[in-house]
């Protein structure tokens, strides 16, 4: 077995410690390949050491607290948004409903304006009745 073959076979081993007899024999004779093998062992010892580390059991509580913290603000943001939207809707409705109620008065106002104009231009004595008409037309104010 050559060193190249040894290295290739070493890299092909899926788990450490699965060496063949042939590889073992080559390693006994070749210091360089033995060193490569030992370095690989160090790598797998390192992996085992890191794998053995246990996560804190409190991490679940922390994760759930974070999830619930994220969930709650979304509801708290939604509520003021809903209130603002409702206020705007009420305001708009108020505006239009006011014009509904004042519809008759608006038409009487238009009539009175027409009377004023007619009186002003066609009357022999313009202005004499204007004050009376105004007083009558705008009495609701």
């Amino acid at each position: 077995m050559t060193c190249n073959e040894f290295n290739k076979q070493l890299a092909m081993l899926q788990r450490s410690g699965e060496m063949t007899q042939e590889m073992q024999e080559h390693m006994d004779e070749c210091a360089s390949c033995k060193e490569t093998y030992e370095k690989e062992q160090l790598l797998f010892d390192f992996v085992e050491e890191e794998k053995a580390l246990k996560i804190s059991p409190f991490v679940t509580t922390r994760i759930m607290a974070q999830i619930e913290r994220v969930e709650k603000p979304s509801r708290m943001v939604a509520r003021p948004a809903f209130v603002s939207l409702l206020s705007v809707v009420v305001l708009i409705l108020g505006f239009f409903s006011a014009s509904l109620f004042s519809g008759s008065e608006a038409s009487s106002l238009a009539d009175s304006t027409e009377i004023i104009a007619t009186d002003y231009f066609f009357s022999a004595n313009p202005g004499s009745q204007i004050e009376d008409i105004w007083l009558n037309s705008y009495s609701y104010e």
């Binding site: 070493l10 790598l43 390192f46 050491e49 996560i55 994760i63």
Partner: protein, 181 residues
Amino acid sequence: MHTTPTDSDLVQQAQDGRTEAFSVLVDRYRQKVFQTCMGFLHNGDDAEDLTQEVFVKAWNALSSFDGRAAFSTWLYRIAVNKAINKTRKNKLRSFTGIIDEVTESGYADEDAEINLMRREQREQIKSAVNRLKSRQKKAFVLFYYQELSLAEVADVLEMSPKATESLIFRARKRLQGWLSR
């Protein structure tokens, strides 16, 4: 008779907004996700923080989980992608000098010289693993840190088992080359 709920039962309940079902999934997979994070970050505190981020991300994306893959496969996919992003950020931060790397020693009672040598070896291994290309690193970590089978790694990486096998082989060859220098 009390039966243990399956992952898909718990996922369905969690998708309906039941946080307690998701909490069971967290308990079930936290150690595995943590091991994956360790494989990328090599620091317990950072790996724990990243584990937390992975589960929060999984919760937020749970509505997009359609059950085509196993929940664990989907979760590990999130974990490896988040870990890769984190290592990129860490690299950038260490490059700009924001991170001062503190190496913990687990051999405080032993001879200082041996301690130093072990620390150097660990640093050499860490930097060799970190030098792997991202797909090779993902495959290496899932296979050796999580001990997933080739088929499972292939599922997480969305590759064929044959391509995954060759990815792991190339990762091992590269590590072999870097470590024997």
